[in-house]
């Protein structure tokens, strides 16, 4: 028994190494003085290069704006939707939310592209930040609904009844009793939606306009061209940043 415990532990350690080493190595080499695989000393030059690159900065700014706006809308819409579904389920809404999660991103992306092109026949608009934002709202809502509904599921149903019994109307019961109790889950959902939106490449690349290049799109372009240590620096920043946000989100969910 103990021997098997050891085998399992080694196996687990190996698997964890498999999961974490690639990113750790990537981050480690972001501090490499040299642009090649040989270690030539510690340096922050690639970070400086990244933070001074105009294209990167503009793309990051775009990504930030898109993620913030999309997160705001998807969190509000998703929270209200989760509450509505919790009261009494709507099969087609629950079904379409679920479908949006399992649909391959490429399919979501091209269907939105087709949809936009069709709309553009009748409206005088083009692909741009707004089309990306709308797309992000669409695929983020399901994440928010899942997180908020999970929290609602742990809530005592009698609490809202008690609020009504004591004189609060339906809106007041939501505002004064339910919302405070799900607030940490709502924030956790928002953080999740933010990272999902910021990181999206597939859908964004299909529906973005000429002026709305996002950071993932730039990263993709650089990655395709060849080895570039600047990418390591960007990667380290993003992974660390997102990792922290998700950690906070998990803490809030567990409250």
């Amino acid at each position: 028994m103990r021997q098997r415990g050891l085998v399992l532990s080694i196996y687990a350690l190996g698997t964890y190494a498999f999961l974490h080493l690639p990113l750790l190595i990537l981050a480690a080499f972001s501090f490499n003085q040299s642009r090649f695989m040989v270690w030539e000393g510690f340096s922050l030059r690639w970070y400086q290069a990244a933070l001074h690159d105009a294209q990167l900065l503009e793309a990051s700014w775009n990504s930030l704006i898109i993620a913030l706006v999309a997160t705001l809308f998807s969190t509000v819409i998703g929270t209200l939707g989760a509450y509505g579904l919790w009261k009494r389920t709507s099969r087609w809404l629950a079904g379409s939310l679920y479908l949006s999660l399992v649909t391959p991103e490429i399919v979501t992306g091209i269907s939105l592209l087709a949809f936009y092109e069709w709309i553009f026949r009748y409206l005088r608009v083009q692909l741009g930040m707004h089309t990306v934002i709308l797309a992000h709202i669409s695929f983020s809502i399901a994440f928010v609904v899942i997180v908020v509904m999970a929290r609602l599921g742990t809530m005592d149903g009698h609490l809202e009844e008690a609020a009504l019994d004591l004189g609060a109307n339906e809106w007041q019961a939501f505002r004064y009793v339910t919302l405070p109790l799900i607030l940490s889950a709502v924030i956790a959902a928002a953080l999740l939606a933010f990272t999902v939106s910021f990181d999206d490449y597939v859908i964004t690349s299909l529906v973005a306009g000429v002026d709305s290049e996002t950071l993932p799109m730039v990263i993709y372009a650089i990655a395709r061209r060849g080895v570039n240590p600047v990418l390591n620096a960007i990667s380290a920043l993003i992974v660390f940043g997102f990792g922290s946000l998700i950690l906070i989100s998990e803490r809030l969910r567990a409250r």
């Binding site: 005592d156 009844e161 009504l164 019994d165 004591l166 004189g167 609060a168």
Partner: protein, 328 residues
């Protein structure tokens, strides 16, 4: 907006007329009619699933009746939302708002009415339930018994016409129950609010109620004072639910009314010969199981002073005429 209660009809503060609640799967409440008098402690008693909690929820407004009328102070409240009715509920698990302090919980209803200067009334009601000093605590920081008192205070402070209580003692420790029972009764007496109390415990109902109604499978079997219902049950169900009962043929006799005699002098004319099968000493009394000649067994509750009876002893079982319970 709250509906102001109409000028009171003499007597009944709450009336249910032929109230029925039909769910897709079953009929929970079937044509219940009852009247609760102002200031009364009225219990709905019955086994689980008999419809008593549904009835309570119908009065509170959490369910709509399929048919029938619900009148509060003579005015129909059937179509009013819970927050428009002047009744308040104490839930079985108390439903205290976990994110609010004791004070904020108790204030909740008053604030929704727009009364923001309520410190005095909150303090008063917390005194009444003996929770003064715990205003700043959260529900998770106080005991089960204290939580129940907060729930009570939260509802009482609104001065409802009727206070609805859904098995409030069932979540408490058994040793705590008797004490809380007395406290609840005392509070009801001093405040004078009408209580509609739901329970499955017949001892609770008998001890606390001014009047009670026994429910079974959605039907109201009998309503009356505790003595009425215990001594003069109208149906077999009521008789056997409220206490133990011996059936001798068509006649029912309570164990405490079933007497054991050694000689024919003590027993009356109707005495039956029986053999003691078991004698259990319970401290203040004996439970004597005896088998009659025709095979039926009875249990008699015999005072300790009447002395022990030995197994296999031949005795006479008898009872007074007025202790017989017969059902049509």
């Amino acid at each position: 907006m709250r509906h102001k209660s109409a000028v009171s009809e003499p007597g009944a503060i709450l009336e249910l007329r032929e109230v029925t609640k039909q769910f897709p799967t079953h009929r929970a409440v079937n044509r219940i009619s009852l009247r609760v008098a102002r200031g009364e402690f009225f219990s709905l008693l019955g086994p689980s699933g008999c419809g008593k909690t549904t009835t309570l929820r119908l009065v509170a407004g959490f369910e709509d009746p399929t048919s029938g009328e619900i009148l509060l102070n003579g005015a129909s409240i059937r179509h009013l939302k819970p927050y428009q009715r002047n009744v308040s509920t104490v839930f079985q698990n108390y439903a205290l708002f976990p994110h609010l302090t004791v004070r904020e919980n108790v204030e909740f209803g008053l604030r929704r009415r727009g009364e923001n200067e309520c410190a005095r009334r909150v303090a008063e009601v917390l005194e009444l339930v003996e929770l003064a000093g715990k205003e700043a605590r959260r529900p998770s920081e106080i005991s089960g018994g204290e939580r129940q008192r907060v729930a009570l205070a939260r509802s009482l402070v609104l001065a409802p016409d009727v206070l609805l209580l859904d098995e409030p003692l069932s979540a408490l420790d058994p040793n705590l129950r008797k004490q809380v029972r007395a406290e609840l009764k005392q509070i009801q007496r001093s405040v004078g609010i009408t209580f509609l109390f739901v329970t499955h415990d017949q001892e609770e109902a008998l001890a606390m109620s001014d009047r009670l109604a026994v429910m079974h499978a959605g039907e109201l079997e009998q309503a009356g004072t505790p003595e009425d219902v215990y001594l003069r049950p109208r149906t077999r169900f009521v008789a056997s639910f409220l206490g133990a009962l011996n059936w001798i043929g068509e006649v029912g006799v309570r164990p405490e009314a079933t007497r054991i005699a050694r000689s024919e002098m003590e027993a009356g004319e109707r005495a039956r010969r029986a053999t003691v099968t078991r004698s259990t000493f319970l401290g203040n009394c004996f439970h004597i199981e005896a088998q009659l000649e025709d095979g039926q067994t009875v249990v008699a509750e015999v005072s300790r002073l009447a002395g022990p009876f030995a197994t296999e002893e031949s005795v006479l079982v008898w009872w007074r005429d007025e202790d017989e319970l017969r059902f049509p």
